[in-house]
């Protein structure tokens, strides 16, 4: 088991966003989190990486238990070193080139030697098909290209798991394919991924299993094919029906 989380709770003002989420990820799992908007999917990801401080919950990674509410600075850094995050809005560093965006975490964060960091960055940028844009700045790239650079940046830190928060939701329809195909390649290579998405093709054909959330709870966790063909829960069935109607 690469990661397990137990009883994650989060409240914003008087809204229970997460009502006790349990989650387990095996090495190589590609889990798509589906659910209606406002169901807590993004908050769950953000709590797992301490971008949001959960009110309660235990995260177990590599045999170490971490209290999601009371984690120390040191524990947070340790968790983040094993994980990476891909944002809906890419969040590339606007003042850095493509290459610098990928190397910054390595040279400054992990104190890697520059040539070593650049070699790693180049390898990752090649993987996402962006090695021909090293000197470009984010503002000179399309959304799809920016997101691929963001994926390279995530890969460069050699994470055990990558969280994707609606990675294609901000993209123009014609640019979604290039990002999804990079993600598909990663899945095939065995990268462990937890993906909040609205792309049903990806959920159905690439992810190994589905975590269906509604109202801050996990309603159903099932292998992808089974979830789409024979959903167990009434709310899952309703959700799939509403998708098919679109």
């Amino acid at each position: 088991m690469i990661l397990s989380a137990h009883n994650i709770r989060k409240r914003f003002a008087d809204l229970d966003v997460l009502k006790g989420i349990d989650l387990e990820m095996q090495q190589g799992d590609v889990v798509a989190i589906l659910g209606p908007s406002g169901s807590g999917k993004t908050t769950l990801l953000r709590c797992l990486n301490f971008l949001e401080r959960a009110d309660e919950g235990i995260l177990t990674m590599d045999g170490a238990d971490i209290d999601l509410h009371r984690a120390t600075h040191r524990e947070i850094v340790r968790v983040r070193r094993k994980t990476a995050f891909v944002f809906q809005n890419y969040n590339l560093f606007q003042n850095k080139t493509v290459l610098q965006n990928v190397t910054l975490g390595l040279t400054v964060g992990a104190r890697m030697r520059r040539d070593e960091a650049e070699a790693t960055a180049l390898e990752m940028l090649r993987k996402v098909g962006m090695a021909d844009r090293l000197k470009h700045y984010p503002s000179q790239l399309s959304g799809g290209q920016q997101q691929r650079v963001a994926i390279a940046r995530a890969l460069a830190t050699k994470p055990e798991i990558i969280y994707f928060d609606e990675p294609t939701s901000a993209l123009d329809p014609e640019l979604i394919g290039e990002v999804l195909s990079v993600m598909r390649d990663l899945a095939v290579e065995g990268m462990t991924m937890l993906v909040v998405t609205h792309e049903m093709d990806f959920a159905r054909n690439v992810s190994s299993s589905i975590l269906f959330m509604d109202g801050g709870e996990v309603i159903e966790r099932a292998p992808s094919r089974q979830f789409f063909e024979q959903p167990r829960e009434a709310r899952s069935q309703e959700f799939i029906r509403s998708i098919l109607q679109r």
């Binding site: 850094v77 995050f85 969040n91 560093f93 850095k96 992990a110 700045y137 995530a154």
Partner: protein, 224 residues
Amino acid sequence: MSERIWGIVADSFPKMLTYGLTVTLPLAAASFLLALIIAVLVALIQYGNVPVLRRICRFYIWLIRGTPLLVQLYLVYYGLPKAGIYFDKLLAAWLVLGFNEGAYMAETMRGALESVSQGQMEAGYCVGLNFVQIMTHIVLPQAFRTAFPALSNSLISMVKETSLAATIAVEEMFRQAQIINGRVYESLALYTEVALIYLLFCTILTWLQRLCEKHLARRGGAIK
């Protein structure tokens, strides 16, 4: 215009320019540097929401922006000695000009810091950077670029504001104009002359500013 006036202008020009180049501009530059350091610290404290210091910074900005520069200058140079605190006149001018402009520039910097998207900060944490590394490598460089036009304006203001130091007898360019005028009584010619030298300085600075902005735009594209 009579030959006498031309003679006075020709005589006084090198003197004034010398004071302009050796006192006015260095004082403006030194005060600007002090203001910049204060502005960045004050803006960072507010941006990072540091408990007690944040209140002190708000108090400082409130105090400085609510009182005239000339009064601040008099208070420090003529007032504080009554409380046993003495400053050399040049030091007093430097401190007052720096702390005064610093308050305005702090607000500029705070706005510029806040204009950098929060998401880049989160991305920084996620790739293993700490707060200081994120500030120095990502947020501050972008904030400086955003604030550059406004900061340039502050520098240009500073050049002109140094003339107030004449009121506490700092021997700068405008003080020279006053002194020479005291001898020859040609106020129109001499004050026009000194005004033109300020204009020259500010024109050159504006031109430099435009050059820098062009360079910044070429290097890295527009900041959204």
